[in-house]
């Protein structure tokens, strides 16, 4: 049975594609393709009825973001979703630092739901939506 929402733990971090994308330029297609994604375990994808390339809405206490779903290529990690670090991941990371200067980047709860037909914003669109300005 397909569920409406998936409760999962979010981890953000580096991927080699994100590394290449950021060095090619933050406005590059490679950066967009490598960062505006969310990696899922196969079983979690079946739970909420999504496939590789479907758009999903990831929501945390601090905000929400639309990204593309992708199957995590290494091993099984049910209940864990991974977004490469970048502007999209940081729409939902938290400002709680536990008095140590380090905000919430890893290991906090999020909800994921399928969001068909919703656009995945580009970096400039995302900045305009969040901060009301960009380079254009």
């Amino acid at each position: 049975m397909v569920e409406q929402k998936l409760r999962a733990t979010l981890i953000t971090g580096r991927t080699i594609e994100q590394g290449v994308g950021k060095e090619l330029g933050k406005g590059s297609v490679e950066y967009y393709d490598s960062c505006a994604v969310c990696f899922f375990d196969k079983s979690d994808m079946q739970k909420i009825g999504i496939k590789n390339g479907s758009t999903v809405k990831v929501t945390s206490k601090y905000g929400s973001v639309i990204v593309k779903a992708q199957r995590y290529p290494w091993g099984t990690n049910p209940g864990m979703v991974f977004i490469p670090c970048g502007s999209w991941a940081n729409c939902i990371t938290g400002d709680e630092t536990f008095s140590m200067g380090m905000p919430l980047f890893k290991g906090f709860p999020v909800e994921v739901e399928s969001a068909p037909n919703q656009p995945v914003l580009t970096l400039d669109e995302l900045l305009l939506k969040q901060f009301g300005r960009n380079s254009l």
Partner: protein
Amino acid sequence: MSKIINNVVCPICGCLCDDLEVTVKNNEIVKMKNGCAVCEAKMVHGYKSEERILKPMIRKNGKLEPVSMDEAVKKAAQILTDAKYPLLFGWSSTVNEAQRIGVELAEELGSALDNCCSVCHGPSVMATQEVGIPAATLGQIRHRADLIVYWACNPWTSHPRHVERYTAFTDGRFEGSEWKSYMNKMKASASRKKMDIASKRIEREEAQINPQVEVNGPPPQTLQKPGRKMIVVDVRKTMSAEAADYFMQIEPNRDYDVIEALRCIVQDQELDVEKVGGVPVEYLREVADAMMKCEFGVIYFGLGMTQSLGRFRNIEVAIALARDLNRKTKFIISPMRGHFNVTGANQVFAWQTGYPYAIDFSQGYPQFNPGENTAVDLLKREDNDATLVISADPGAHFPSVVMKNMMKHPLITINPDMNAISRLGDVVFPTQWCGIEYVGTAYRMDSVPITLKKVVEAPPGVLTDEELLSKILAEVREIKKKRGLPVGLTEQKIVHTEPIEPPRVCPAPVTKPKPKKVVKKKKEAA
């Protein structure tokens, strides 16, 4: 006419690989050898991409418009001097010479000064201050380490040549490379997968591919073999885990528990639980055995430790584990520093102010208080009223909830290309790529200073970080003088010729000539 430049240093990650072979033609890098994928992306394509900023810009009516360098410098100095408490953030992707001017600027402004390590390895720095750290240079590890533990990091993606150059897959003087055995393992795994798929097809069942390293399975026999061994501990399986002899998957936010359990085993204490952090105690016992039996072990830890619950306590306990292991064998521990000169930022700040990051000059003297003077906390409380960001991208790497507060006040950015923060800036400066267009000093992740090389000429009119910061500093002092405010005593004229090399050898102790003793001869009794 093309020329080949050897031994170029890669200005990307903390590895600072210094064996690149770069081919330059018509003042452009056209080919690069020995580098990783990320290095090639920057050195061959990224540095000259369309995203490059070539002229200073000021935001007028919501749009960035090109202006002259003098106008932009005046505007930036005006913003910084008008602000009551500016924040100077970044510093990790620039050279030590520029960081030094940054400290001087922060002191002149009475501002907050923080670097990127507050959102990466800041907790590691705090833990090192608390308990110290048993460390070694990467060269030592390359030649001697026979057990390499990567804890909560994925070097294959964040430091792509770390395994190949410094640890498991390198041929050291005393320890050989494990590359061949890894290749054999991969071949065996590939043929096993093929066999599995073929047999399932015959049985008309859905193919179930066995993972090469069984997730949370028992440690293999190879963990006790002589020669190099690699263990990866992480909350998710990664490419690095695939290359390891053993991958131990733990539950998120449970690093502290697992390390503490390993410490108990190392200290011969009993554990009356079956599992710790999702890992059976018997597996932990075998990992601890491998750690104690090795001749030279090393733990590399990444952001999985510093960004999980526990923060600097995780690192503190990991250092304590290394300390305990040192009673049985030789063991060291080291953070996997991200940006190529984030270690240098800590070094320069500590050398200049006494503190490595999260520094506050508002009282006229440096104060250190992570959690209060760190960039995210300052922004969260809306303490600062202007921001200067240099060689960093908090626009992409700070939570947007705190970035919204940064946007309420003027923002000055200094970056070579149009990254997320430059897209948001009010005054946007271009700068040269250090390590490509100008020379400078950077610290590798093991705190070894390395001189970056110049490979191509910079575009005309674009200054180095050091020159630009010196201009802003001079302008700030000029404005302060006009307002009758006291300015810093040291007015240095920076002439950028050669990078400053820190002393490699301790100077010989000065010995005072000892006063000659007057020995009175005793008159022999007649």
